[in-house]
Structure formats: C-alpha cells, structure tokens
C-alpha cells in the first residue's frame, strides 16, 4: 500500500495508457525527458512535418505505389489505407497473431513491420486466398470444421496454417500445432483449427478427438428432428474465412476521426486540475473530453449487486460510476479522451494533456481492504453496497451449520484463492459513433444490442428511438461485451462535440486494464462429514475483489452442488483499487467450483474414498436440495465419463505414487448450471415467394447464434435452412433479445423464434401468402417459465489425466473427457467447439493465467496475451466431448445452456488431477510452474 503523496506534476509521457509509474515519477522522469528532446516537437500531428516515404507494394498480386508515413505499420496501411480489413489487430504487439500475413511467402505479424520496410515486397493477406471466387481448400476446411468461432483470429490462423502447408504439404498434428503456435484463439477452438488444417492437407478426414452424442435413454429422450441436430456449417462462416465479415473496427465512415483515451497511472487519486489547452492547440485535434465536459453516468458500469438488467435498480444505485470519474479508483481509469484527424495525432495530443493528481492511498487485496485503517474507496466503506444500498455480505443458509458441524464425525477446513484473470476476448473493445441531428448510430462490439441501446439512451438522456446500435460481427465476448461500455459514451460524446463520426479502438493493454475481468476470491471452507462419507454440514466464507465498482454480484458459486442438510454461505463483495471484476464465462463459477470441488476432493481422499464414489454419493439431486429438476442426468454423466475415460484404471488410489519425478494422475469435477427460460423476442416475415426472414437481436459472439436461430426457424417452419434469412445485429431491424450472455440465447431467443414461426404459420393458414411486395409479419415477445417451481439445469462431468514433471513443475494434459447434458444439441458442430474451447480456456485459468498487480504501484504488470500467459496451440490438448442428449419438454426443442458450461468444472478437474499425480494439494490459482517447483522443494 502506498502512502498518500503530495501534489506532483508528472511528465506527459507517464499518462499514456496507464503505463506510468505512480511511485517514483517525480524522481526519474526528468532523465527520460532528457532522452527525448524531440518529444516536445510532438511531430506536428498529422501534418507535413511527419517523415514520409513512397513505397511500392505488391498486395495479393496488385501493385500499389503509396506514400506512407515512416511510422505506419504494415497492418495500418492494409487496413486504414488499402481497406483490406480482413487482417485484424488483436494486440498490435506481436503477442496474438491476428495480424498474420505473408511477406514474400513467409508468415509475419503485420503489426510488427513498418510499411516502409516492405518496399518492393510481395504481401499476401487473407483476401488473397480466394482465387476467382473459389475458396482455397484450407478456407473450405475451416468452414466444414466450424473452426472459426468469433472469427477474429481466423485470418491469422488461416495465414499461419497456409504457411505450414506451403512448406510441408503433409504435416503431422504436432507439426501443425508448432507451426500455428504464434496464433492465439481466445475462443480456444484450437482442436478444430488443427483438425481443419490436417483435413485440408488430406492427412486426416475427421476430428482429432471424438465427439459422441448419445441419448439419455430415459423419459426425456429426444425425438429426431428434420433440421436441428445435424452438423451444419454456420451461415456466415464463409465471410469469416474470407476476411469479409465486418467487425466494429472495420467500419469506416466518411470524415471519420480517431480517438484515444488518456488513463490514470494511479490506482487512486483525486484529479485537481486537467489542462488540455496544449492538446487543443495541436493541429488536427477536433475534440477533447474529460470529467468536466463528459459527466454521464455509466449505468451498466456499476449496478448494485450486479443487477444490471433491472431498470429500477439502476435508478436507485447510490455509488455512481461516470464515463470519467473523479476520483479515479484504479490504474487505467479513463481521465480524458481526444478525437483527431488520425490515430497518431490523437495519441500525440494525449502527451500534451497535463493532469494534476492528488495521489490517495490504495488497496488491492479484498481481505486487506476490510482491515481497520484500510484506504476507503467509497465514503460508505469498502463493503460493496447491495441492491438496497446496504453494506452487507451475501448470505444463504439451510439447516443450522453450527449444529451440523457438531454432529459431524469429521470436520475439514481449507482456504482457497483465485486471482484476477481477464476475458481477453480477441477483439478489443471500441466503437464508431455518428450523429445525424439528435440521432445517434453506434457501431460497437456488444453481444446485447438491445440492452446496449437502452443503456446508451438512458445514460445520454435521449429517447431510445434516437439510438441505433449496430454489431454485425464481433470478436468474442466471454462476458465483458454485453450492454454498453464507457468507450461507447466517450465515443458518442466526442462525435457530438466534433460534429463528425469518431472511431475509438482500445489497445490490447487498455482492454486488459480498462475492461472488466474475473473477480479474484479468497474462500474458506468447513466441511462436516459422517463416518460413511455422507456430507452433513458445509460452511463457506468468501471474499470477492470487485474492483472499485460493483458490476456483478461477486458471489462464489459451488456449494450448491451438494446434497447436504446444513449449509451456510457468507460472501463479502469488497471494493479494491484493481480494475473491475464482473462477467466472465460463468461469472461466479470457475473460481467457486475450483474452491468447492477441490475441497470436496480433499474430503474424499481424507475419508479414503474414490472421488467419483464420493461425488455420486453427495452431489445434488435437487436444486438447493429442494426443487425438482426438469430432468436429471448427472449420474449418467458420471457413469459415461468414468467409462469412456477408464477412470478405474487411470486414477491412482494412492496420490503421488508414481516413482520418479514424472507422475501421472487423474481428476474429476462436475457441473449443474442454470438453463432457465426468460424474456426475449423475435420477428418473422414471409414474402409472396414463401421466403422467410427471421429478425433476432443477436450478433453471434462466437457461439453460432445466428445459425442456430436460422435452424430453429427452419425446423419450426418445416422448411430448409436455405429458405430462411436471418437478420441480426441492428436495433433498427431487430427486436429485443437478452443478449449473448449467460448461455441463454438459444433458449430464450430460440423460444421466441419458435413462437414467431407458429404465429406466422397461423397467419399464412388464415390469409395465405402475401401478394406482390407485401410481407406478412409475426412478432413474438415471449417470457416463458417452468411451471411447478421446477429448475432447469445443464449437467456435466469432466475427467482429466495429467502428467506432472514435478522436478521442473510442468503439467501436461494427457486425456480429457467432457460429458455434457445440454439438452438437445441443436448443431453438433458448434456445440463441440463450445465445449472444447471452454475446457481449454479453463485449463489456461488453472495453470497459467493471471493479471498480476504490482503491490507497490497498484498497476497491472501483465496486461496482454504475453503477460497473462493465455493458452496457445501448444497448450491445447485434444478434448473428447460426449453429449448426453435430453429433451425435458421446455425450451426450444429441449435445448439447454452450453456456452459457459465447459469452462466451469475444468479448472477444478485440473487441480484435482494434479493432486492425484503429485500428492500435493494446490490451493491457489494459477498452479504455475513456480508453485509446483516450490511445493516439491
């Protein structure tokens, strides 16, 4: 924790992207400035003072003579100037691979090459793969295998795979992995990218690991359907594999300005004064915003108790978050933003803004923040206010836990902790805003265009009809791209002030430090067990570090998975001066499941039981031990999984019993996860030719929602998919949808699609098809619920075998079997990718990922793919998926949730397998090499 500091004026340089060092700026900065005599000249800002060169560039066979600024990167020229936007920017630092192109036949990162260096060279981009309108076999294979999820990494993956095949036409699986090691896919669809590449090479025809679909053989078995349930390539994958899909950053409007954001280097500080006059004087600067002239409340940024969808709640929230806040409460919080004629001028302008901060003491750790004397982040204290504006922990209880613990034959206690990890979706957040009179059009990567629109209108204080939100394609979500973002408010305000369209693109680092991630937790468990291994009492005390704003509940999920009479759950969501913790793929579960399921694994071993046996004995049979499930297949998941995995053979009855330093072991974890029904809407129309259009407020964050909606419509109408056009991603053409979060698009919006189809069919039956140019339209607004207090859940059991080289702390996943009941599998192709990707993401969280903070300056040190150690192709094992299909009679044709499910048990399963292999219980995430070496010592 730092001491409060006196006023100090810090060099311009220190403000950029929060890279400044809060502690020592005064002492050392002059030296830095002395090194940069030219900085003061600020290089003219988009004027003729900037050195330029003329180059000859061959791009996809076509020659270009272009004048470039010497500082322009190749990707900048391709995207901004040649309008070849298929090549993406995921990091701009050589740490993601999205920008991969070929230069004279070699794959390189176009973000890490200057355009001037390319003079006389031949460049091939994704747009050059297609020959005479015919896709390259590799592109076709990517489509066939559904390799792209969000598609943002896809052009990079294609160019990397192409380079592999050019050099080595018949590579092995390992060679493909190694050749594509420089291409992150945050959707983590690594298995399918490799499968597709091998298939294109003719080396193999199928998936490297199996996907099996079986039915649950019980009362809820699925009846076969015509269209749904067949492996169907997505309706828009062709655009994703040819670089034609238009993401927010690809939007370019006439007269568009570029914006950049200045961020606080301090984790906690009061802004005394901001002087923007020098920036304003820079030629090319068109608008500047700070907390003084852009003071909109960002409603979705901080809603008490995470109830961001409840409008009433938004009104009563006491602790408001603005687009710009004063005081700033985390390092990286926006302080000012500039719109200028080009991106470099905007960046130069940031250097010219000086901010006078009064640095305040800060606190990073959630338990530290509750100690007496800890710096106070809000006047009401550091316990986050709940929906009643009360500073109270979340509590749930059943039975009497103290009595339960007394009655138990044995009681076990442990502490677990999880760290802050960032969503790191491939496409950084950004926006393009344009005003026409008092009407705003905003292009922004949001999985929830409807909520985003409501939020924007409310925050800006304009009628909802005046806001149009467009998101045609988006590069991943994982929970931090629903609703609106401060960047949307900032971009809209700049556009208004400048009287011109404005584009803002967060850098990768800004995305890490300025967008929310998964909240860190500490978890204390007490578990009481009877002699026969029956759970009797379960107590959990937890602390969640929410950052300075409460964007989600901060709860810690896990203990509800067990059948136990006495339970007590007390979780305190705490404010800290880290960046905000909120939705990230199964918001409260991967971290909670890690704690709870590691704890139960401990108990099983202590009781001398096989963990599978222990879990089957003690796992949930009813939701909260009270409510019937609409169907229940958890036992079946365990049975099938144990069999397919060969659990009895792989699991070590004596943990760590392999001799030598290389040890194998196996672990298990499971899942019961919400699959509830809820409100959504769909419109459907038909023309005189019997062609259908279904309008749905989805954008397809990567899960395949557009295609699924088309499939559901086709099935409900009884027509082939080709007769249905899906209209998506535009609030002017689509009705309300809850948004792609919470794994509920298929269930909720899918339900509305069926209703619209039925209504439309009825209308056709009554009136016949329309004549001429007329349309018949049905509008469905559905809000179904499960009757009789029953609960819908998805279920899963995961089995994993690892090999731990204990002497060097290395973990290798040897086998992974994930058995899921997600109801009916609407499209086996994309469903498989959802599970595989989620599992690999979970493995990354278990072993590597962390946004690591510097305790002394309060700054994040590992922002980015390199720093957070996001899984690469080399870290991605082949994952086997088994679906147990069921139809509980609710939801669209029995579909349940799937998008988040695969990640939830994966983290715990890995931890448990490491214990089985090594005999060491790893209670803190991530279980990185260092920790494994340390516990052995």
């Amino acid at each position: 924790m730092s001491k409060p500091r006196n006023k100090k004026s810090i060099s311009r340089r220190k403000f950029i992207e929060g890279t400044g060092a809060a502690l020592v700026a005064a002492a050392a900065v002059p030296t830095l400035d002395a090194q940069t005599p030219a900085a003061a000249k600020a290089s003219g800002g988009g004027t003729s003072a900037v050195p330029r060169s003329t180059i000859r560039l061959k791009v996809n066979g076509a020659m270009h003579n272009i004048e470039v600024e010497d500082r322009w990167t190749l990707v900048e020229v391709l995207r901004d100037h040649l309008k070849l936007t298929g090549t993406k920017i995921g990091c701009d630092r050589g740490e993601c691979g999205a920008c991969t192109v070929h230069v004279d036949g070699n794959a390189v990162y176009s973000c890490s090459q200057l355009a001037v260096w390319m003079d006389g060279k031949s460049i091939q981009t994704v747009e050059g793969l297609e020959k005479n309108g015919k896709l390259d076999p590799l592109q076709q294979a990517f489509i066939d295998f559904d390799a792209p999820q969000c598609g943002f990494c896809t052009s990079g993956q294609l160019m990397a795979a192409k380079a592999v095949l050019n050099k080595n036409p018949r590579p092995t699986r390992e060679e493909v992995r190694a050749g594509m090691a420089g291409n992150i896919c945050r959707c983590s669809n690594y298995n399918l990218y490799v499968d597709a590449t091998l298939a294109a090479a003719g080396v193999s025809a199928g998936m490297g690991s199996k996907t099996i679909i079986v039915d649950d053989a019980g009362a809820t078995r699925v009846a076969p359907l015509k269209t749904l349930g067949r492996a169907t390539p997505r309706i828009d994958t062709r655009l994703r594999v040819s670089g034609k899909a238009s993401y927010t950053g690809d939007v370019s409007l006439p007269g568009m300005l570029y914006a950049r954001v200045l961020r606080s280097p301090h984790p906690h500080a009061k802004i005394r004064k901001i002087d923007t006059s020098r920036a304003a004087d820079l030629p090319g600067v068109k608008a500047i915003v700070t907390h003084e002239n852009c003071n909109y409340v960002w409603g979705a940024g901080s809603i008490a108790g995470g109830r961001q969808y409840v409008e009433e709640m938004k009104k009563i929230t006491k602790q408001r978050r603005y687009a710009f806040n004063n005081p700033v409460r985390y390092a990286g919080e926006p302080v000012a933003a500039v719109a200028a004629v080009d991106r470099h001028t905007a960046e130069e302008a940031l250097q010219l803004i000086s901010v006078d901060y009064e640095v305040l003491p800060f606190v990073l750790d959630q338990e530290e923040a509750l100690k007496p004397g800890a710096p106070q982040i809000w006047p009401e204290g550091n316990i986050s206010l709940d929906i009643r504006n009360e500073a109270k922990p979340m509590r749930e209880a059943r039975g009497n836990v103290e009595q339960g613990l007394r009655e138990s034959d044995r009681v076990f206690e442990s502490r677990y902790s999880t760290t802050f990890v960032h969503n790191a979706q491939m496409e950084p957040r950004g926006a393009v805003a344009q005003w026409e009179g008092d009407k705003l059009t905003i292009y922004t990567p949001t999985g929830g265009i409807a909520n985003c629109r409501t939020d924007m209108a409310r925050d800006l204080g304009i009628p909802e009809e005046n806001v149009r939100v467009i998101c045609q394609y988006m590069g991943g979500n994982f929970g931090n791209k629903n609703q609106n973002q401060d960047s949307d408010l900032i971009t809209a305000t700049l556009a208004k002030l400048a009287g011109a369209p404005v584009k803002l693109e967060y850098t990768r680092k800004e995305d890490f430090i300025g967008m929310h991630g998964r909240w860190p937790t500490t978890q204390y468990y007490k578990v009481g067990v009877k002699k026969d291994g029956t759970l009797h009492a379960l107590e959990m005390r937890g602390f969640s570090g929410m950052g300075p704003y409460r964007k989600n509940s901060g709860s810690i999920g896990g203990i509800q998975l067990y059948k136990v009479p006495h339970v007590q759950y007390v979780v305190t969501p705490v404010y800290t001066n880290k960046t905000t913790g909120a939705n990230f793929r199964g918001p409260e579960f991967p971290q909670g499941f890690f704690g709870a399921q590691s704890m139960m694994d401990e108990v099983a071993y202590q009781m001398g039981m096989d963990p599978v046996e222990f879990l089957v004995k003690n796992m949930t049979r009813k939701a909260e031990d009270e409510h019937e499930y609409t169907n229940y297949t958890l036992e079946e998941c365990f049975r099938r999984g144990a069999e397919a995995f060969d659990w009895k053979k792989r699991w070590k009855a004596k943990p760590g019993s392999d001799t030598g330093s290389v040890k194998r072991g196996s672990g298990v974890a499971f899942l019961a996860f919400r699959a509830g029904l809820g409100r959504s809407a769909a419109w459907m129309d038909v023309d005189s030719q019997g062609r259908y259009k279904v309008h749905v407020g989805v954008t397809d964050v990567g899960g395949g929602a557009k295609t699924t909606m088309g499939l559901i419509a086709a099935e409900a109408l009884g027509v082939p998919l080709s007769q249905v056009e899906v209209i998506w991603g535009d609030t002017s053409r689509c009705p309300y949808s809850v948004g792609e979060s919470g794994s509920r698009t298929t269930i909720m919006t899918g339900y509305a699609v069926i209703q619209a189809a039925r209504d439309l069919q009825k209308m056709i039956a009554e009136k016949g098809l329309p004549k001429g140019n007329d349309l018949l339209t049905a509008k469905a607004d559905t809000n179904p619920s499960v009757p009789g207090g029953k609960v819908r859940n998805s279920f899963a059991a995961h089995f994993v075998e690892v090999e731990v080289d204990t002497a060097v702390g290395h973990v290798k996943v040897l086998k992974y079997v994930a058995v899921h009941d997600s109801g009916r599998i609407m499209n086996p192709l994309s469903a498989t990718g959802q599970i595989k990707g989620a599992v690999i993401m979970g493995i990354g969280m278990a072993l590597h990922e962390e946004l690591h903070y510097d305790p002394r300056s309060g700054q994040a040190l590992t922002a980015g793919y390199y720093g957070q150690r996001v899984a690469t192709h080399m870290d991605a094992p082949d994952v086997e998926v088994i679906f147990i299909e069921s139809d509980d009679g609710y939801g669209p044709f029995g579909a349940k949730s799937i998008g988040e499910a695969g990640k939830l048990p994966a983290v715990a399963a890995i931890g448990n397998a490491i214990f089985n292999a090594t005999g060491k219980r790893m209670r803190d995430l991530p279980i990185r090499r260092q920790r494994l070496v340390e516990v052995r010592a």
Binding site: K14, I16, T19, A21, L23, V24, A25, A27, A28, T31, L32, A34, Q35, T36, A38, A39, S43, P51, D70, R71, D92, R93, G94, G97, N106, A107, Y109, S112, Q113, L114, V116, W117, A163, A178, G179, G182, E347, E348, A807, V808, H810, G844, L847, H852, D854, P855, R856, S857, Q859, L861, Y866, R869, A871, H873, D875, R928, R929, E934, R936, A937
Partner: protein, 328 residues
Amino acid sequence: MRSFSNANPRDMQQAAKLAQQARMEGRNAAFAGGGSDMLGLIKERIATPDVLVHLKGIQGANKVETKGGATVIGGQISLSDLSHNQVILKRYAVLAEAAGSVATPQIRNAGTLAGNVCQRPWCWYFRNGFPCFKAGGSQCFSFNGENQFHAIFGGGPSFIVHPSDTAVALMALDAKFRIVGPSGQRTLSAADFFTLPKQNAAKENALAYDEVLASVELPAAAAGQRSSYHKVLDRDAWTHAVVSTAVVLDMNGDTCRSARIVLGGVAPIPWRVPEAEKVLTGQRVTPELAARAAETALAGAQPLAKNAYKIPLTKEIVQRTVSAVARA
C-alpha cells in the same frame, strides 16, 4: 506512434554513421533488425528515436559462411533461417535449437540474430514504462517488488535476466562478436560483449550508441562436439525463458574432454559456470556426475524474495541436459 524517420543504410558502417550524425544534430537514433522488439518499444514510448536505422535490408548481411574451421553468421539472418541452416544444425545444434525456441514462427521469420541478441529486457517494470535504471532512471522496482522472473546471479543495481535465447547458445559456443562503428570495427568475446548492470546499469552490452552488431563468429567445432539448448517456459510456447541452459560438450566416447555450460534466465548476462564445467572435464559423464555439475552450477546463487525456485529448477535442467548431450 511517435513520429520518426526511417533510414535504409547501404552497409553496417553507414548505419553506424547515421546514428552518429543524428546524435550530432541533437536527435536520437535507434537500430532495427526485424523490429519485433523495437516497434513494441516505440509504441510504448520506451524507445523514442527520431531516426530508425533499418538494418535488415542491408545486402549480404544475413549469410552463413565458413572460414577455415570457423563459421561467420551475418547478424541479419532471420531466426528461422538460422534454426534450419544445415551447417548450424550439424555443428552447432545448440544455436539452431535456441533460435528455434524463440517466440513463434512469425517472430522467427521477422526477427534477426543480432536483434535477438540486442533486444531490451523483458522485466515487467521496464516494459510497463517504469522509470527504472534500464530506462535511464536511478532505481530498480523489482528488487523490492515482483521479482519472480529476475536474477539469482550477477544482479544489482538492475536485476534483469538477459532475455535472449541465442545469446545463451552463443556464449556456450565461445562466439566472437564483430562490431561496426562509424570509423571502424572491433571484435569482442562473448564475455566482453555482454555487460553486467554494475558496469552500466542502463545497458546490456558493450555497444556504443553508434555501434552495430554486424556478425558473430563461431570457432571451429571440435570433432566430438555435441550440444543442446534446453528452455523452460511458463506456457508451452511464446514466452521468454523462465530459465534455460546451453550445454556444449566435447566427448570422446563417454568421457568429456571439455565442457561449456551457460545458464539463461538467471542473470543479467548469459551466465557461464566454469566450476561446473570443470566437474565434467576429463570425466566419464554419469548421471551422478551430471548432478554434481548441476549442483556446482547453482552454487552461490543469491535469490531475491520470490525467485528461489529458479535454483532447483535450473539444477534439474542442467543435470538433464548434460546427461542428454553426453548420451547423444
């Protein structure tokens, strides 16, 4: 990005002169090979050149030539060419392996050997713009801060570890570094090329601001020379070495005639361990002897608060690599 002008010199000496000239005009110059490190530094405003002198376009600066027994490698060779070069693979496997272990295929295609050797530190603080010794400041943040990836040998006042994979191999091969300046050239041994923070806290090597690393020369490989590079990463690709080791043995049957062992990721320079080499010299290399050499290699390590794990980790890989090379 901050503005700068790009310069395409004809040869190395002209490159050096451009840097000198810029300085005389009160401007900053910097060199770029593949730029995979340099552009990141510029984008973060950690490096602020007014003139960027691009070396990769210089004709003939990327060749591998054998002269007598020695092999001269042009500094502008790409890391992928280096890792696939037949001469290097055959005689100096350790260098091919080290080059092949760098980052990703794309970075190896762009990145040069010279750029790899001369890349700036990857310490979290330096890369996040903290004004520490390496940025011309007067303190080290890692010493009392987050130092899990920092030095256990040779640290102070900066505690970086040298980031280059190829540097470790070059030191193990006893390479010579040919340096070109505005008015001539000089050649330094690896031991003199890499410099400790004690000598100059802001730098990692002996190059003056207006000198470039033009080529490296590897002495003839002994008939029984075998070598290997072992790198430990924090995920299975695309990170710098947590620790690494380059082992070069001259073997006669199972007896070691001479040995060079260098550790990476443990010190501000590639860290040669002569005492450990002596343990092997003239001996039959048994697993026990390899373990003893590894023990010796790590003797005297001075860990910081959070990096003691590097000691057992490095011991283990030294032992494994020595055994593997001796067995090969």
